[in-house]
Symmetry: C2
Subunit: 331 residues, 2 copies
């Protein structure tokens, strides 16, 4: 497909909590007309698709007006969604957080908007975005880790997003770090996600409070059962020793998983995104210490570990990069 | 470098226990003049290098005579060695099993033999060998796992050996599977190698016998402390229930590690090599069951898990593949 007169590509980042849409200049740059809305997945798949389509149409209209651009200035839509999924058919095979099974997400959006579209895993897209425009723009090999309701990952090797044999590569959240450890939502025991996802951080914090340790957490949350990962970060910033311990444990668990990644992939860069990065050095210092302890020295020394530099838009930018790569063969 | 008249390349596979050398036809095929000798690393680095050089010279002489070939028929030498190592300088940075540090292995061999040489990690080479000529010859993405005194790994992605940022990729043996588990030789806790290497299998077998369970193992080994992984496989074949349990546990630990690999890399094929594969279905059945339990379904279904098909010569063949790739740009 030739570029023709296209100046813009729409990026869509569908998550379990929020949908983000933005319009990215063809050659990269800050997304315009960015909008964020709740996914409200409990209202059903049709509702979510209609909402995504409306957000895309509104964003296109906004950019078209502001830039005086015609319809032919928009090349298409890159979509990132939780997986596993099939890129070729544009189908989401299954996604626990959204409840979809064999759902033809790409074509529903493409047909409703009337523009070509591509589908890729959301964490893959975010990592590709970091490589194209963000923290990884000067290196070849980047592993991205997204910490949220779940833990996702993406792997860019020598500038190419690694999809694997069945588009399932980079599922870092379900790496076992303790084979007889905490039960994970996936049914297994000891997955990284069972320790370091947002809900897991909250669950560990609540469990520890049963021993009646002094902490700001119950007060900040209103009641102990309303504690979230955000409450933990807030309490850490306010100097709460118990919350700091919970975060420190999180950093250690995460360090075990990331040391495994460093030993296996030996990347130039690990980019970490998600709410937990707000804790800054409270997270990164014990995290780096655990990695130094567990990873091979030559691999650990070659790898920088940084937070995302794209301010929550890595998924949008990366979905656009995926669209470019699939449509034109390069980014 | 052009191929000129070269018909043969020498492959060298240096391990903690044995050195293997063979001569491989330029376009692939069964290695000729294969020889295996003990490494005897305790006799020092010079002794080992002299032994390797003598083995190479003897192998070249044997093939030259048998094929009526002149010196210019031999293009060079591919060397596989435990790492970490630096391919560019041909230096072994450190290797716990051999005790070498910053050791210019490649150039010592090159200068003594008088042929160009390349150096790569032994498990990388073995995996590349499987991809070129062995179990992986029909697929794009192969992960190899070598189970011996240590556990090594190699990753071939879309036909390219993945070295990573500092030639350290594929170190699967020091993946943490139990962050507070068994102590590993590397100083950490819960590495895959601490459960499923040969010495770890023997150590777990000996520990369990302290509870005085009935087993053929002490009799087969002479005394309990002489039990090795080989003794365990022999006892399994003779139907010993305790040894079968030890092997079954090994398969489960290995399954945890390989499920992690499948979730991260999503390969077409996992090739397992080393003594433990002699246990056949006693190993592979519980191994596949654990992987099915822990890996993403779409990733697990895409991945065949097989023993090496190169009968102990994957390291030789793969070292030759590495030489070809580095010298001519392709295999």
């Amino acid at each position: 497909m030739s570029r023709s007169k296209a100046d813009w590509i729409v990026g869509v980042d569908i998550g379990g909590t929020n949908i983000k849409v933005g319009v990215v200049p063809f050659d990269g740059g800050t997304p315009l007309a960015v909008r964020v809305e709740r996914t409200e997945v409990q209202r059903g798949a049709k509702f979510v698709v209609d909402r995504v389509v409306k957000m895309i149409q509104d964003a296109i209209e906004e950019v078209a007006k502001a830039e005086g651009a015609g319809t032919d200035a928009f090349a298409g839509i890159g979509i990132g969604s939780p997986g596993p999924l099939d890129r070729r058919t544009g189908t989401v095979i299954s996604t626990p957080n959204l409840g979809w099974r064999n759902f033809p997400l790409r074509d529903l959006i493409r047909n409703a908007v009337g523009l070509p579209a591509t589908l890729d895993n959301d964490a893959n897209a975010a990592t590709y975005g970091e490589w194209w425009q963000g923290a990884g723009r000067d290196v070849d090999t980047v592993v991205g880790v997204t910490l949220g309701t779940g833990i996702g990952g993406g792997i860019v090797l020598n500038g190419v997003l690694h999809h694997g044999a069945s588009d399932a590569a980079g599922e870092l959240g379900h790496m076992t770090i303790d084979s007889t450890g905490r039960k994970c939502n996936c049914g297994n025991y000891g997955c990284l996600e069972a320790y370091a996802s947002g809900p897991a951080i909250a669950a560990r914090a609540i469990e520890g409070l049963e021993a009646e340790v002094p902490s700001l957490l119950p007060e900040l949350a209103g009641d102990p059962n309303s504690i979230t990962a955000e409450t933990v970060y807030d309490a850490v910033v306010q100097g709460d020793p118990y919350a700091t311990e919970v975060l420190h444990d999180t950093a250690k668990f995460l360090g075990v998983g990331l040391a495994n990644i460093i030993n296996i992939i030996n990347p130039d860069l690990l980019v970490i995104s998600g709410g937990v990065t707000k804790a800054g050095d409270h997270l990164f210092e014990p995290l780096r210490a655990e990695i130094r302890k567990r990873a091979f020295r030559v691999a650990e020394q070659a790898c920088k570990i940084v937070p995302s530099s794209l301010n929550g838009t890595a998924g949008i930018i990366g979905a656009v990069a995926c669209f470019k790569k699939e449509t034109y063969g390069s980014v």
